[in-house]
């Protein structure tokens, strides 16, 4: 097997894959290096992989200038936490119910979920519905509810896991022993479905942490509800937003004059990306599994 062709092929593969890995990694390194570069150096040399002069001032500024950043961070964490719980609470039992063929109206229920994957009203009617009927504009629900709680793909993925990977006999036996449907679901189905629950929870978590659209569309006035993504988004247009929004007069000495305009964007982006990178090594396996399962259908 260790022919010359094989060796050439392996070397070639390593070269290409190293290049691709670098392409994935380098932008993030540039981001990080820029965030710890002194602002005047940045103005002189631009964003660079090898800064002349380091400085953590941008981070200091971000945390000292006012509550905006820590608050947005907190909102992002709370949102992601609530989002994952809500998503699993809605998705898991529904997927389980759909996996039971003997439920009366099984076909209709499946179609009810399925149709949402084929046709949707789009942004305008959805926006009108949420703002006019439910009034979730400028509330925390505006971040939590629209679009992200569950979708046809989550439900179908979980359903097919319940159908294919959980032996019906065990559940049947428990039922004959007198366990209620809820007890069977809680004590047998859920423990056995842990892998798929982890995967869907992870998908939902990534969805919530990375979402900026809900905040962009539904949070127009109460900027204290901004998630870290919304804050970052706002700062693309308006770098002064951070300090303009600061009501903390005690910190007035860290005034506008000294705003590290160039590095601050990058330091905030690093903060936004950090939690994702920290969970990535642990989450990766479940994530890859989910992609493989959802695979073609995703």
């Amino acid at each position: 097997m260790n022919t010359k062709e094989e060796r050439t092929f392996q070397t070639f593969s390593h070269i290409i894959l190293v290049l691709l890995s670098l392409m994935a990694l380098l932008p993030m390194i540039l981001l990080f290096m820029s965030s710890i570069t002194d602002d005047t150096t940045l103005i002189k040399n631009g964003y660079s992989f090898f800064p002349e002069k380091f400085s953590l001032y941008a981070y200091e500024y971000v945390f000292k200038t006012g509550p905006a950043v820590p608050q947005a961070y907190l909102i992002s964490f709370i949102l992601t936490f609530c989002g994952v719980l809500l998503s699993l609470f809605v998705t898991t039992p529904m997927a389980y119910a759909l996996s039971k063929k003997y439920v009366v109206g099984h076909g209709f229920l499946n179609f009810y979920v399925f149709f949402t994957m084929l046709f949707n009203g789009g942004l305008v009617p959805t926006y009108m519905n949420y703002t006019n009927v439910f009034g979730i504009k400028n509330t925390f629900f505006g971040l939590l509810i629209p679009g992200l709680v569950t979708n046809g793909m989550y439900i179908m993925l979980m359903k097919s896991y319940f159908v294919s990977s959980i032996p019906g006999e065990i559940m049947e036996a428990a039922r004959i022993d007198g366990a209620s449907e809820f007890a069977v679901f809680r004590t047998i189905a859920i423990p056995l479905a842990k892998p798929i629950i982890t995967t869907i929870g992870l998908f939902a978590g990534i969805g919530y942490w990375n979402d900026w659209q809900n905040g962009y569309v539904y949070i127009t006035k109460r900027t204290e509800l901004y998630s870290i993504q919304n804050l970052l988004n706002r700062m693309v247009q308006n770098i002064q937003f951070l300090s303009a929004n600061s009501h903390n007069i005690a910190q007035a000495d860290v005034g506008l004059a000294s705003i590290p305009t160039v590095s601050i964007r990058m330091s905030m982006a690093v903060l936004g990306i950090l939690p994702m990178l920290l969970i990535y090594p642990f989450a990766q396996k479940a994530f890859v599994k989910g992609i493989t399962l959802g695979g073609v259908k995703g």
């Binding site: 389980y96 993504q229 994702m276 493989t292 073609v296």
Partner: protein, 316 residues
Amino acid sequence: MKQTTEVDTARKKAKFKKALLGSIPFYLMALPGIIYLFINNYMPLPGLVLAFKNYNAKKGIYGSEWAGLKNFKYLFATNDAFIITRNTLLYNFVFIIVNTVFAIFVAILLAEMRSKMKNAYQSLILMPYMVSMVIVSYLVFAFLSTENGFLNNTVIRLLGKEKISWYMEKKYWPFILVFVHVWKVIGYNCIIYLSTILGIDRTYYEAAAIDGAGKIRQITKITLPLLKPTIIMMTLLAIGRIFYSDFGLFYQVPQNQGALFSVTNTIDTYVYRGLLELGKPTLSAAAGVYQSLVGFVLIVVSNLVVRKIDKDSALF
């Protein structure tokens, strides 16, 4: 005779009643999902009539007067309808081709890799998929910013050329957007192909190796033909979504720059801007209806084709 049928129907009724009673716990379990999908997906649907109305905020969607097809006529009379349709279709078309080719290429390299580095490569290549579009726009900005960007300050300075105002020059953006898109999703797509390749029976390769087929021949004669169903499926499903675009990619990455609209405006960004930036909800609604209807037809048709080829891969 009559009596037996009566008994039969009575029995059936009793059976149905029992099945219905037995189903109640499952209805309760499905209830949160049913309610959510109703609110999020079904309730907005009647609002689509907005596209056929003269919207008056005071009277609401249903109280406003009918406008017939006026909004659609107006939409298609402008150049916008052509531009957003062209951009959406062309970008998606290029994405489908480039994604497929690159993802298969990388998947084959990963599948054939014998070293332990394989997992590290896969993790790194998948990483951009986890990054939000807002942050992607910052990453792109770090390279392209006119005053401070890495390209202008390091690469172009080294080459001794003039600085380029990346965010003002539309000729670069089709390439930038394709690059960013592929960069972000290649890890995801390649995992799908990789899982198909890893499912191929290894004895095929062993037999081919004994017959003297080299690596390249094994790939072209075994791997690629066996990937064909997955390729067809992925492509058809992508065609089903060809009328939809990644809003974040086209809105965030070009930083909503007006100078770039002719090459960055897609149906999704148009609908968004019309509704929330320009205050033209009816025009947005018309474009939305256009997208929903054509999108629906495309999804249904492409799925019927998928179903013909491989029933298990079809959505329905």
